[in-house]
């Protein structure tokens, strides 16, 4: 059930991993994105991103703020078109949103006019799933995230951690192959976050979904991921990939998690400095 071997060291891959026999669940083939800023210049946000995610793999993407890691998830979800490159799911090119890839937004985007149950049901309704089946699945997924009792509550009545779990249940209920998560736990307190890490790991193991998880927290990435991809700052490129071979379940405070995170952080530091420099430069201009 748990991936990875009990080894405390990390293995560093070159940016292009050796081709696998298995068809990757998600493959990004030279994805680039550029856009025109308000001042009229063209900005390259993502530069030829190549990434492959195996079925059932938990991939974490880390990078400094502004490296385009959230944007990358939006592209995979099909919410924006990329400028060039291809996104393949199970070997087929995708364009536009699809319920095989569900994104959990940083701001969640739960619908306040629906109850918890209504939110979880929403994606199934759009897929025209029959009512009886919807009811059953709402019950199942709410139980999975321990919110069965809150089925008829409204979103504003829930705490931050509970909202996260509703978002998770809503995403899982459409039974996507790939779950895309955009810094979902960034706004939570440490205890709630730790709890949700445990739950996410358990749900991932139980449901066998492929997860692409974006975070700026390297330790969180090591805590959760089978593999961590490091993006550079503007334009976003894959700088390096690390596979994390620590036994599960892991914990944020574990020494080997901290050590692995430290190694990745060293690699990330240059990029963070670059992003900070740019931010301060902006400030001076103002």
């Amino acid at each position: 059930m748990f991936h990875g071997k009990p080894a405390s060291s990390i293995v560093t891959f070159p940016t292009n991993p050796v081709a696998e026999v298995v068809v990757p669940k998600v493959a990004l083939d030279a994805i680039s994105l550029s856009y025109r800023t308000t001042s009229g210049e063209r900005l390259l946000a993502l530069d030829k991103i190549n990434l492959e995610v195996k079925p059932g793999e938990f991939l974490c993407i880390v990078g400094p703020s502004g490296c385009g890691k959230s944007t990358l998830l939006h592209l995979i979800a099909g919410l924006h078109p990329q400028t060039s490159g291809k996104i393949l799911v199970d070997g087929t090119t995708v364009s536009g949103p699809g319920t095989d890839r569900i994104l959990i937004f940083q701001e969640l985007g739960l619908f306040p006019w629906l109850t918890v149950g209504g939110n979880v049901e929403f994606g199934m309704k759009m897929k025209n799933v029959r009512k009886a089946e919807r009811e059953e699945k709402v019950q199942y997924y709410l139980r999975l995230v321990h919110l069965a009792k809150f089925r008829d509550s409204y979103i504003h009545q829930l705490s931050g951690g509970m909202r996260q779990r509703v978002a998770l249940a809503r995403a899982l209920a459409t039974e996507p192959d790939v779950l895309l998560m955009d810094e979902p736990f960034a706004a939570l307190d440490a205890q709630t976050r730790d709890l949700l890490h445990d739950e996410l790991e358990r749900i991932w193991a139980e449901t066998g979904r492929t997860i692409i998880f974006v975070t700026h927290n390297v330790r969180e990435a090591v805590r959760l991921g089978d593999r961590v991809a490091l993006l550079t700052f503007r334009p976003g490129r894959v700088k390096q990939e690390f596979s994390v071979n620590l036994p599960r379940p892991r914990h944020m405070e574990q020494p080997d998690v901290a050590r692995t995170a430290g190694d990745i952080l060293n690699c990330l530091r240059d990029e963070i400095n670059k992003s900070l420099e740019e931010e301060y430069a902006d400030e001076k201009v103002r």
Partner: protein, 252 residues
Amino acid sequence: MKKFAKQVIFYSVLLGIWALVAKLRIWPPYLFPPPWGVGHALWDGFADHSFWIGIAVTMKRMLIGYSLSIVLGMILGLAVSSNRFLEETLGGLLVSLQSLPSICWIPLAVLWFGLTEKAILFVVLMGSLLSVTIAMEDGRKQMPKIYSMAGRNLGASGFRLFWSVLLPASLPFIVNGMKQGWAFAWRSLIQAEMIFLSLGLGQLLMMGRDLSDMSQVMAVMILIIILGYMVDGLIFRTMERHLQEKYGLTPA
């Protein structure tokens, strides 16, 4: 309950001062009637049915004119907010037209429709249509984009995206538009009625003036305040507060 007690005390004191000033007879009673004089006028007005008729006529006009402006305003607002060309052209015109006080439409309405019911409704429509339209347009723009993205992400598109996501997501803004529209329609209608002299509360107000009956003038003013407040302050504000809480928009 504590707030209610404060309000009772406040209004009692206010009435007391009014009674005291009236008692002192600084101004003659036909210019400054005591509270009981106004109370009497209210009683008489309801007793001889003239106030009931006034309220009925005014509310009927309000209902027709306001409903029309809501429907048209929603369509117009939706059109303006979803089309770049319309936004840049018609949008600007609407904003500039809104600076025109609705009473300025009366001469035009009279020439077009004569002293008829249609003319009154036209003034009410012009008074509230623009504010509804602008509120709708603003609402569509202010609506957090996250909802439509989340909806598309979960497989909604086309009409279903509009019906199950965009529309409910903009509900707080729609209610805000309806509230503003109500306030404008109410003011326009009373103004129009004062000039058209065709039943209604506005006419009762002017009749009080013509008869030099200050008690009736004040009684009708109080009626207008109470009716306006009941809809605006009780219905709309309650709805708005409920929605803001639910949608997490509570200001401070």
